[in-house]
């Protein structure tokens, strides 16, 4: 199971706790995680990446294993620790706006 940590506002929208678990087919990538997340929680569609372009929203970042994956290719395989469920995949809201 893949573990995903969402920002507070999206937890409220999806009515989930700090962390969600998802079945994701290998290879585990940003795209495959977000596809699975949106399929399980349709109300999150469009909140993390644009509906049409599938681009990450500008004020969101993706972290994994204490590294910033935001600018990596969506289909790049994530670390084994994420794929095995040892470490979560983090969706983080940028600190902006005061």
């Amino acid at each position: 199971m893949i573990r995903v940590v969402l920002p507070q506002h999206l937890r409220t929208i999806a009515q989930v706790g700090y962390e969600v678990e998802l079945e994701v087919a290998v290879p585990v990538t940003q795209r495959s995680i977000l596809d699975a997340l949106e399929a399980r929680y349709p109300m999150l569609a469009g909140t993390i990446r644009d509906h049409v372009t599938q681009q990450r929203r500008p004020f969101l970042r993706f972290f994994a294993c204490e590294e910033d994956w935001s600018l990596e290719a969506p289909d790049a395989p994530l670390p084994e620790a994420v794929a095995s469920g040892k470490e979560p995949f983090y969706v983080i809201g940028a600190i902006a706006g005061g």
């Binding site: 920002p7 506002h9 999206l10 929208i13 495959s32 596809d35 699975a36 949106e38 399929a39 349709p42 109300m43 569609a45 469009g46 909140t47 993390i48 644009d50 509906h51 049409v52 929203r57 004020f59 969101l60 809201g93 940028a94 902006a96 706006g97």
Partner: protein
């Protein structure tokens, strides 16, 4: 006894204010969707407990929340999940995508940017939700960048009415200070095929065929801030109001100027009369007196607060030109709030209730058609919108 429900959208959430027909004791619930910008909420005339809310954020984009119990609980309609062979399902929730499909869609053209260059349409948020008079699941959404969308399945999916954006004048539309927003949607209760909309800064438009074709209705507007002050489009219309019993009579608060049309917008004349300033955002019509209208004059386009620091609603009982200041219960010194375009509404009780919200977080109510005012709440986040439901 009748009840009144006031729906308030603010910069940091939605609030619902309930009272009985006396309108003297209010229960406040909220914030709903705490921390999010709520541009607008509105209830269905068919099913008053069906309320649509526009929830938006610079971080997470646009969501539409729906309540079926008068605002006690909310949810995002699940949307249809379309199976895609060999790929993850395609999700439709909260999806506002300009229609560029053949044969009915329109190419994603450009509009004028602040610097005069052309700029592609980009969806940003929903400014206004207008539920249908006849179908609880049908609701219109006015969006930024300006376009009109419609849902016929209770907000599970949305489709653009592309004839508006693509009818030909789009390249001359330009964003106002708040963005290029379609902020006003008025349905004609007597003629379901007629819809009025208004855009900052493009002007007012009308369809008589249910949204297939549109025409600009700006004849008579005069705007000194555009190269041709009498241009067909480009006017910064702030809000338009109509009394349901007189669908051919429209009242407009333009950037500057209060205007009136008696021929469904084909021609406009100025009715600013003796207002202390004719800049402002809101305009509304008394529930029972179609010639009684309300505005809140704001000092200027660069100073968005009441002149002299005195918060005054102005009422005309003659459909414009002759205005009286309504001040009883409103602050008459050191008041520097604004009243935004969707932040005034009326109930249909007798006497007519009038409500408005301010950027200072106050929601004021009058239970005597404006003669006197009191604050229902004083310390909300900046108020973006106010709508009122009169319930049995």
């Amino acid at each position: 006894m009748s009840k009144v429900r006031v729906l308030v959208g603010t910069r940091k959430g939605a609030f619902i204010l309930n009272a009985d027909g006396k309108r003297d004791k209010w229960e406040v619930s909220g914030p709903h969707f705490a921390g999010w910008e709520i541009y607008h909420l509105k209830g269905s005339p068919v099913d008053p407990n069906r309320i649509y809310a526009s929830q938006t954020s610079g971080w997470f984009g646009q969501l539409i929340q729906v309540s079926n119990d008068g605002g006690k609980s909310w949810g995002i309609p699940g949307g249809s999940i379309t199976p895609v062979p060999g790929a993850m399902p395609k999700v439709e929730s909260n999806k506002f995508v300009y229609d560029t499909t053949s044969p009915n869609g329109k190419p994603l053209t450009t509009h004028q940017w602040y610097d005069g260059t052309q700029h592609p349409w980009e969806f940003k948020r929903v400014w206004h939700l207008e539920p249908s008079y006849t179908e609880a699941d049908t609701v219109y959404a006015g969006v930024e960048d300006a376009a009109l969308f419609r849902s016929t399945d209770g907000s599970k999916s949305w489709q653009e009415l592309p004839g508006l954006r693509g009818h030909g004048t789009g390249p001359k539309w330009q964003p106002g200070a708040g963005g290029m927003c379609l902020h006003t949607v008025i349905l004609d209760k007597k003629d379901p095929k007629r819809i009025y909309i208004a855009i900052s800064a493009a002007g007012a438009f009308r369809t008589d065929d249910g949204g297939k074709t549109w025409k600009p209705i700006n004849q008579g507007l005069r705007s000194q801030y555009i190269p041709d002050p009498k241009a067909e489009v480009g006017h910064c219309v702030h809000h338009v109001a109509m009394h349901p019993s007189r669908p051919n009579t429209l009242f407009m608060q333009k950037h500057w100027d209060v205007m009136r049309s008696d021929d469904a917008g084909d021609n406009w004349k100025e009715v600013s009369g003796n207002l202390p300033t004719d800049f402002g955002f809101v305009i509304d019509v008394h529930a029972h007196e179609p010639e009684t209208i309300y505005v809140v004059p704001i000092k200027s386009d660069s100073e968005h607060y009441p002149p002299e620091g005195k918060l005054r609603v102005y009422r005309s009982r003659s459909g414009g030109n002759e205005w009286e200041a309504l001040t009883k219960g409103l602050p008459q010194s050191n008041c520097f709030v604004n009243v935004l375009r969707d932040a005034m509404a009326v109930d249909s009780l007798d006497k007519c209730g009038v409500y408005f919200g301010t950027t200072g977080g106050q929601v004021y109510a009058s239970t005597d058609a404006g003669d006197s005012w009191s604050a229902i709440v004083r310390d909300l986040p900046a108020v973006y919108s106010v709508e009122v439901q009169t319930l049995p």
